[in-house]
């Protein structure tokens, strides 16, 4: 099966859990939702965390299909403000 290389970039609690970056080879047609399920799958609780995704500094929907070379930022729930 043809695969493409992408990179996940993590922030805050997720960065502490996975490190800042993670390279993955995934099948063509993979959505960010599926990608995250695979990454989070091994950690109970994590897969239920309502994460958001961003590509090229724009939020994308969970159904976004990754492209070769994408950097996919994975955000835990934001908590700015005091």
């Amino acid at each position: 099966m043809k695969t493409i290389a992408i990179e996940l970039v993590f922030f805050a609690a997720l960065r502490e859990r996975f490190g800042a970056r993670m390279r993955r080879d995934v099948p063509r047609g993979t959505t960010v939702r599926r990608l995250w399920r695979e990454v989070a799958g091994a950690s109970p609780g994590l897969s239920r965390l309502p994460v958001r995704f961003a590509v090229r500094e724009e939020y994308v929907e969970p159904r976004y299909v990754v492209r070769a070379g994408d950097e996919i930022a994975v955000f835990p729930p934001v908590s700015g403000g005091a």
Binding site: A13, R15, A73, S79, G81, A82
Partner: protein, 153 residues
């Protein structure tokens, strides 16, 4: 002015950024680190941001608010890094012809910032910390934090 800033926030500078001869009202919101949260003594806060995206999202919120409430000017500044108790983490200023629009827009801006701008807060206590919103802290018992995060001012 839309800024992520690692140093102590200068409220006067944010205020000055929204000055306008057409403005009859200026509203400033400052969000400040509290000594206690949910009964626990907070030593300090630490904030992390996706800086470029945070600035972009704040700018977008500002532009939207400006159109919706016919504001004169909007400025938003959020601090990152360590924030000691008592110092502001966020400052938002809005100027408008009349106070109703300024108050409403200011409230909307801080609410939206807390919902979508990619900034994360870590509360440090003696002997541990919690990433607010994520329930992924180290060293501190996991608790239901998301509802608390929403309830705070």
């Amino acid at each position: 002015m839309f800024e992520i800033n690692p140093r102590r926030l200068d409220v006067g500078r944010v205020l000055a950024a929204v000055r306008s001869p057409a403005a009859g009202a200026v509203v400033v919101f400052t969000g400040t680190t509290r000594r206690t949260n949910a009964g626990r003594r907070v030593e300090r806060l630490e904030y992390e941001a996706h800086e470029r995206m945070a600035v972009r999202e704040m700018r977008r919120l500002g532009a939207h608010a400006k159109r919706r409430w016919r504001l004169e000017r909007v400025a938003m500044m959020h601090r990152v890094g360590v924030v000691p108790v008592g110092e502001p983490s966020v400052v938002i200023a809005v100027s408008a012809a009349h106070r109703d629009e300024a108050f409403t827009a200011g409230r909307w801006l801080i609410d939206r910032l807390k919902e979508i701008v990619p900034i994360w807060k870590k509360e440090r206590y003696r002997g541990g910390y919690v990433w607010i919103g994520a329930q992924q802290g180290g060293g501190v018992p996991q608790r239901r934090r998301r509802t608390q995060a929403k309830a705070r001012g």
